[in-house]
Amino acid sequence: MKVKVSTKILLAFIVLGVVLVITEVLGLSPIALLEAALLAMTPLALAAMGESINQKAGLVNIGLEGIFLITAVAGVYGAVEANNGMVGLLFGVIIGALIGLLFGVLSVYGRADQIIVGIGINVFAIGFVPYFMMSTWGFPGIYIPPKEVLVPPLPIPVMRISGITLLAITLGILLHLMLHKTPLGLRILAAGETPEALDVAGIRVDYVRIFTAILSGALTGLGGAFMPLCWFGGIVKEISAGRGFIALACLVSAGLEPLLAMSFAFIFGFAEGLAYTVAVTPGIKEAIPYHLVLMIPYITTLAVVTAFIGKRRFPKAIGTPYTRE
């Protein structure tokens, strides 16, 4: 099984190589392409890693899209109010964590249908975000904060890369180690596989799940605030554009492994970066209509999920509330 997955990953990288050659032929700048891919990867990776751990513990939050949307406006709001982009990112993390906590409480103690709560978070966000933007900034659809409150990329030569991107990659490794090398990780895995056994061992299943729900919300919140503050430099009311679901595609394709989920985030980020780069490249933008180019990330996601989902195994107790006897 493992071998097969790695050959598929290898294949994916070969495809990436071919795409890079094509871009070279078309005259696209590979540096610009990589920059775009890393930017697009970051929110996907953060949300996918956090939520994969949440799902390992047995909770399924499909409200990532809504958390992205809400924390994107929350991040801009915090940054503008404090006149500091880092405060904005922190604001995104806190609001994301709070939504994660709410989801956790409803799922663990309220025994809610987790999918429906997730859908509710998404529907709420679609209405709340334009309402918030209208009430706060007077425009329902778009807001461009002053340039000073944005978070600039790292001051290094050759390419523009955000510190948050490096943080995301580091977090991926740390989360992997946490999940597979620490007692806490063992408890998270047990909460998703055999919550009864964990309970018998004297560990509170509810605490473990609430913890992962908050972690997932907080990381998704960082990704949400990243979009306007480190990437787009402004906010539109549909800023997340389905990325919450692409993040779900990452973790499902990765069988809930955080590091693997990050690799998938890179593949999807690359597809998105390619779409944006192609969409603005002279000579190509006239030939291929902009709207069709923008479909690339979604088609890639469908294709990749279809190819990888095959025999993925998910935790036994996934999506089901646990009651103490």
Binding site: I62, E65, G66, L106, Y109, G110, R111, A112, D113, Q114, I115, I116, V117, I119, G120, I121, N122, V123, F124, A125, I126, G127, F128, P130, Y131, M134, S135, P140, A241, G242, F245, I246, L248, A249, V252, P289, H291, L292, L294, M295, Y298, I299, T301, L302, V305, T306, I309, G310
Partner: protein, 354 residues
């Protein structure tokens, strides 16, 4: 006492839960108004007047309810079969696109043209729903992911056609209008209610009958309620999943058509898709409030239609931006997801009924 409570619980408890969720949603909405210094009483009064203040207002509310009951059916028939089909949004776009194509470019006699356009839009909606259905059946791709991807592909595809191939000459913001022969008749001057409401309610009732009296409907419900029992009963799960998606697609395609050929004054699709956007997601709330029962869905659609229609008056007279209605819908969905809300009521009822 206990026995009568259980006997009546099949009807009364869901009603109570829905009612309570609505109240929770509206109260939470009021808090969101207070935060920004709006007066919620003023706002809700304006909303109620705008939705039910007179015959014209009520007709407009019904007009808002038409697409919502159909997208509600899309989600409800999915849940009945054990699926979370949130693809109505994209199927609405494709249905609307189909309605523009057939309505503006075919030349057919009066009556026939309306029917052909409606059916064409429904078929396109159904075709768009087959992709996620097949991915689910063949590869086990979760429908929540695949339907959202199809929604976004539909979004850009429809926008592309609307802007580059179907735009009205000289007016880039909308497509060409459908021909007179392809339009449903307006029922009342001063409101946008058209005779398409009969088609949409009839569709919901047909789905209700399908679920209650046909064998296929029974199999669909069995698969949703108990997949193992369905397997032992010899239900072909793949066929049921496919049919659930297709029925949902037909409903959503029809919902898209109603906004093009069943709603004055534009009789066209906006280049931003503004007049069809969000209808699919609104339908999720409608389905859940209506307890995924087609008749309940009709009633819930009128409720959400009233919120959406009255929301415009609320914005006009109380200054509360009407998108808040969407947020309230989300809160209602969350409240409906939590069974413990009902358990709380039951405990209270028990306390007062010894």
């Amino acid at each position: 006492m206990e026995k009568t409570f259980i006997a009546s619980s099949k009807v009364i408890q869901p009603l109570l839960h829905s009612g309570l969720a609505l109240i929770i949603g509206l109260i939470a909405g009021a808090f969101l108004m207070i935060i920004y210094g709006y007066n919620p009483i003023l706002a809700y009064t304006a909303l109620f007047r705008g939705a039910f203040g007179g015959m014209a207002e009520f007709a407009e509310t019904l007009s808002f309810a038409i697409p919502l009951m159909l997208t509600g059916i899309t989600f409800a028939i999915g849940v009945k079969a054990g699926l979370f089909n949130i693809g109505a949004e994209g199927q609405v776009y494709i249905g609307a696109l189909g309605a523009v194509l057939a309505g503006a470019f075919l030349h057919l006699p009066f009556g026939v043209h309306v029917a052909v356009t409606t059916i064409f839009a429904m078929i396109l909606g159904a075709l768009w729903s087959i992709g996620p259905a097949l991915l689910k059946i063949w590869r086990g791709v979760h429908e929540v992911i695949s339907t959202i991807m199809f929604n976004w592909i539909a979004f850009y595809l429809t926008m592309y056609f609307a802007l580059y191939h179907l735009a009205e000459p000289g007016r880039a913001e909308k497509t060409v209008s459908v021909l007179e022969t392809a339009r449903y008749s307006v029922l009342m001057p001063g409101a946008s209610l058209t005779s398409v409401i009969f088609i949409s309610t009839a569709f919901c009732i047909v789905i209700y009958l399908f679920l209650t009296i046909t064998k296929a409907g029974y199999e669909l419900k069995l698969l949703g309620a108990n997949p193992d029992a369905a397997k032992y009963a010899g239900v072909n799960a793949k066929r049921v999943i496919l049919s659930s998606f297709i029925i949902g697609g037909l409903a959503a395609g029809l919902a898209g058509a109603t906004q093009i050929i069943g709603r004055p004054p534009t009789w066209a699709l906006y280049g931003t898709l503004g007049n069809v956007m969000g209808l699919g997601f609104d339908g999720i709330g409608v389905a859940l409030i209506g307890r995924n029962n087609p008749i309940g869905v009709i009633i819930a659609a009128i409720f959400l239609g009233a919120l959406k229609n009255g929301g415009r008056y609320m914005e006009y007279s109380a200054g509360v931006y009407s998108e808040l209605v969407g947020a309230i819908n989300g809160l209602i969905i969350i409240a409906l997801a939590v069974p413990e809300v009902m358990a709380l009521i039951r405990r209270h009822l028990k306390r007062y009924k010894p």
